[in-house]
Amino acid sequence: MSNNKKNVIAVKKPVKTDEMLAALAKAQEQALKPQTKPIANTAMASDASAQSKVIDREASTTADNDEAPKETQLKRYVIDSDEQKKSSKHQAAMQLNEKGFGSFIGTLTGIDVNDPKQFARAYYNPKEFFQGYVDSAFKVSRSKGQVRQLNSGWNPLIIFPQTDEVWLDVDESQLRAFSGLAINKTLGEKMTVTPLPQDSVNLERALEAFYSMDAFMWKIACWASKGRYPVTIDIKQPVYLKHWPNFTRLLVTPHALRIAALLVQGPRTLDNVAEVLNIKPQYVFVFISAASALGLAGQVKREADVLVQSPEVKSNKNKGLLSRILSVLRGKKA
């Protein structure tokens, strides 16, 4: 049999749709075979080929026009079994309710952040906490495009800017305690950010100790805040939310979804958010601390924006129904 005949796919007459589609699929498979070459699209891929599998996916020009794909494009990605084992990175978010807030986030002494008369003092300076040092280290690592290590005299934090990951092998309770303490000058002077030697970059590490940079930063900002707002925010001026945070992979503090839903509609002051939603200000403050740490929230700077009235919150006509759905989703019995 000649080579040309080898590539012939026969369809028996009378031609049936299924048989023709199967033949076309086979032809497409053959046509694409020689072009398939493993490529790496993650930093880990090149040296993780033993655990990885390259997949080609087809896509038509519309959503899924199976009958008439006008143009076939391939997406190649690496199935990295190690990536799927990074449970801390891909696991569902932890959702805190009001009861669990104090014990998980921490409590403050000497100030009642929910008292409007004390709002002016209810702030913290992220730079004085682990959050500030991690933020600086992230910026350096990202700008240099280098794997870097934050040395703190404690367990080192390794930052992988290409994959937006950090690695820190400590118990969560230790991290919570460390993140909630203001770092004194002596310890602060010991904090350094150094490039990780190339031979250390590819060392095997506990996969469950990898976190996404965003989820890590969000959490340590919550622990530093303890229900206060960051010093960079003027309590009297409105704040904006750029877009919804990726809540399925972040620590969900009490009422965080409601706060996000309200703030994406337009800028508001923090106490206005608490008032409109009828919640304690500490829940707004902790949310803004975490969202600011990720660059999602910030202060409205233009005078014109301050003057713009945020839209009035109108109750949905199905409010009762929506509340009942929520109560079921949140596992409550109404």
Partner: protein, 178 residues
């Protein structure tokens, strides 16, 4: 009694059937058939009419969960399914060649429904394909003048799907107390 429903849509393989299964109180009714066309590269069977699940609400009410068939040739079903819906969950598969194109297609298709109600977007398979990132989706959406919730979702995980639906409901009314 009124019929309340949430619609799950998205391309083939994005996890609509699985997502409905994650939050339904009854085993979902599936109308699958063996994939005999291009879909078979993605999975052995596919939804050809719709998926259907139910959430039982206090007071005996029911929330109906409808999944649209992903293939465009069944788009005549979509208009029927969205009638009376309270919102749209759009699931996108991050391993597809151009998930932005998928997103634009479905948002255009359900444009009227979304503007009358709300949409929340779940991006699946991000553990297999990290790019585009969630931030990339927001950039695209801002270009379309939209700011919906966009979450990384594992459709098998109840809390992921639950959070996405909760975000949809809060988008409809941030004042809700659950």
């Amino acid at each position: 009694m009124s019929q309340y429903k949430i619609i799950f849509t998205g391309p083939v393989g994005a996890g609509k059937t699985t997502a409905i299964n994650s939050i339904s109180d009854v085993p979902p009714i599936k109308t699958d058939a063996s994939a005999s066309d291009m879909t078979k590269f993605r999975k052995s069977s596919t939804t050809v009419a719709m998926d259907y699940g139910v959430m039982n609400l206090p007071g005996g009410e029911k929330l109906h969960l409808y999944g649209t068939p992903g293939q465009e040739r069944f788009d005549f079903m979509w208009d029927i399914l969205i009638t009376g819906g309270i919102g749209l969950i759009l699931l996108l598969d991050n391993t597809r060649a151009d998930p932005f194109q998928d997103m634009r297609f479905f948002l255009d298709t359900f444009d009227k429904f979304v503007s009358d109600t709300a949409v929340a977007i779940g991006v699946t398979q991000m553990d297999l394909s990290a790019k585009p990132t969630i931030e990339d989706y927001h950039v695209q959406l801002q270009g379309m003048g939209l700011k919906p919730p966009v979450f990384a979702v594992d459709a098998r995980v109840k809390s992921d799907v639950s959070l996405l639906v909760q975000a949809l409901l809060y988008t409809l009314d941030p004042g809700l107390e659950g």
